[in-house]
């Protein structure tokens, strides 16, 4: 990284730039559509004024008047919304072969949303650490930029770079239904998305054009369809389908999911996906993944949770199996702050028959 970029990165770090991800667990409070709190129709990213307000009223343990504002008090003009995220993680991994720890700057982004009548332009700019790059591990990127048009209250058309809508949109990108299916962080693509909103359901159709600007990434192109039904006051159930591929394979991915708030304190996230994968010049594979998280909020802003994950991308290949069980705690003490810690016992048969320990502590500061 050149010195100018490094200074820019440092400045962003100093400013605590961030980009708030969606919390599907908020469904337990009756927040059924993502657009209530986020400009992105699929959730995540820069907050709407309402989303910012409830980050104090509902998400955090303590808050004071005006504390949720950008930079604790900046009020930009009404047509402009500003946000950003700083996210770091400390990882610990222990197994029979090695024990290691690693600190990663995951995200330091600024994001802005400018609105003009039915049009909204959203763009983020930030840095992230890519440890694999050794001595110069920082890179500048725009994770997300898009233009959205809302011709009528129930229709949104969105074009730009963002994650396609598939399954549960959780910020935890290392889980089985994200990383397990190849949709880890850094897989945002150029998309054209149509969204139909209703009082009782929403439907997302995404045309995914991959990343034609960077052929080296060889990201998939395809089409994704997701529908969600708002089942009662605090639950969503839905199903997703994706068909796409790149130079290496084509695949169909499909499955149901549920986000169920049993009470305002308890929420279950559950997703099951099956995959039919057709690698070029190889036998086809049929497999599946699942993810489950049960979260309990002890007092406003303080959560504990248990997780379960399963991946077997080829039901005929015992070595493709991996699974894990985990516990965690999440704390939103005040607006702008999140601490999340998780410990998992996980087993990947292709590596070892023994469980390994995998733990992380994530600090998130959102402006």
């Amino acid at each position: 990284m050149n010195p100018c970029l490094r200074k820019f990165a440092s400045l962003l770090l100093f400013l605590g730039c961030f980009q708030l991800h969606g919390y599907p667990e908020m469904v337990r409070h009756g927040y059924l559509s993502c657009t209530a709190c986020h400009f992105n129709a699929n959730g995540g990213g820069i907050l709407t004024p309402f989303g910012r307000a409830i980050s104090g009223d509902v998400l955090s343990t303590w808050s004071s008047e005006g504390e949720t504002k950008f930079l604790y008090g900046v009020s930009p003009p009404e047509w402009l919304n500003l946000g950003g995220d700083l996210r770091t993680v400390q990882i610990y991994q222990k197994n029979a072969a090695f024990t290691k720890g690693r600190f990663i700057l995951m995200q330091a982004d600024l994001e802005a949303a400018a609105q003009l009548e039915k049009w909204t332009l959203v763009a983020s700019l930030g840095v992230q650490q890519v440890p694999e790059k050794g001595m110069d591990p920082f890179e500048v990127l725009s994770r997300r930029f898009y233009l959205s048009y809302r011709p009528a209250p129930q229709w949104i058309v969105q074009a730009g770079k963002f994650n396609q809508a598939f399954g549960i949109n959780t910020p935890d990108h290392v889980i089985s239904t994200k990383r397990g299916l190849g949709w880890d962080e850094g897989t945002e693509t150029l998309n054209l998305q149509g969204v139909l909103l209703n009082k009782h359901f929403d439907t997302f159709l995404t045309l995914n054009f991959g990343r034609p600007d960077d052929a080296s990434l060889d990201l998939e192109k395809g089409i994704a369809l997701r529908g969600r039904y708002y089942a009662g006051k605090r639950a969503r159930v839905g199903a997703s389908y994706f068909f796409g591929g790149n130079g290496q394979f084509s695949r169909h991915v499909y499955g149901p999911f549920a986000e169920i708030g049993f009470a305002k304190e308890i929420v279950l996230l559950l997703e099951i996906d099956l995959q039919n994968k057709h690698p070029v010049n190889q036998l086809s594979q049929f497999g599946g993944v699942n993810y489950a998280k049960l979260d309990y909020e002890w007092l406003q802003g303080l959560h504990t949770y248990v997780t379960q994950e399963y991946v077997k991308l080829d039901f005929n290949d015992p070595n493709s199996l991996s699974y894990s069980f985990g516990i965690g705690a999440q704390f939103f003490p005040r607006p702008h702050l999140e601490i999340n810690a998780s410990w998992q016992k996980r087993k990947k048969i292709s590596v070892s028959n023994d469980f390994e320990d995998f733990a992380w502590v994530m600090l998130h500061f959102y402006l």
Binding site: G30, P153, L197, K233
Partner: protein
């Protein structure tokens, strides 16, 4: 030729028929010709509401919480297959579980400092079937009523469920109404607007008491 035994048998049969008729009349009297009261202040109750925002769908829901004393006042009467009466509901304990939301709801919209209660008067309910306080069940039959809320009175209609067992009655009303009809502003908070339509579910469970017979001679 008639015999004494035959006569005795006929008398026995007549007695059985008469007693059985009497038994049925008792049942009938027990159910339809008598009236039954429910004192709402002694009932368990559950009053819940839900309203939604659109197109950004959020569901705001809550309930009127029970205080030390009952939030309900009034009584319901079941007589001649009909239900009548009025319920007064204290609104100051209306809660959604989100403190800020509750504060705004009561201060800016329900204005509970001025309008502390709502009153629901059942105007027309015909209970389907033969009502019995000992064992009865009727689901989703229609009702009409009048709701006094925020100082305004409007007709409402919906469906009701009614069950009895050993003189314990469970009654549940479900209806929709529009807040703007009562002069309540559409709730909004940082650009999020809610729909005016509110879905209300009100349920009570309590003991049925025989109503004093108005035709009975005074002692």
């Amino acid at each position: 030729m008639d015999t004494g035994g035959g006569k005795s048998l006929r008398i026995k049969i007549a007695l059985i028929i008469l007693s059985s008729l009497f038994f049925h009349l008792e049942i009938f009297a027990d159910s339809n010709s008598e009236s039954w009261l429910v004192d709402l202040s002694t009932c368990e109750h559950q009053v819940e509401f839900e309203l939604r925002g659109f197109p950004d769908v959020i569901s705001v829901f809550g309930s009127v919480k029970k205080k030390q004393e009952s939030i309900l006042k009034g009584q319901l009467e079941i007589a001649n297959g009909s239900l009548s009466g009025a319920v007064e509901i204290g609104l100051e304990t209306t809660e959604t579980g989100i403190a800020k939301q509750d504060l705004l709801m009561k201060k800016n919209y329900l204005e509970t400092d001025k309008w502390k209660t709502a009153r629901f008067t059942v105007s027309k309910v015909t209970i389907p079937g033969t009502f019995s306080p000992s064992q009865f069940s009727a689901k989703t039959f229609t009702f009409e009523g009048i709701l006094l809320l925020h100082g305004a009175t409007r007709k409402v209609s919906g469906t009701a469920d009614l069950q009895t067992e050993d003189q314990i009655i469970s009654l549940r009303f479900l209806f929709d109404t529009d807040m703007t009809d009562y002069g309540i502003a559409l709730p909004q908070y940082f650009g999020m607007k809610l729909d005016g339509n509110v879905q209300v579910t009100a349920g009570i469970k309590g003991k049925l008491q025989r109503s004093p017979n108005k035709n009975e001679p005074m002692p």
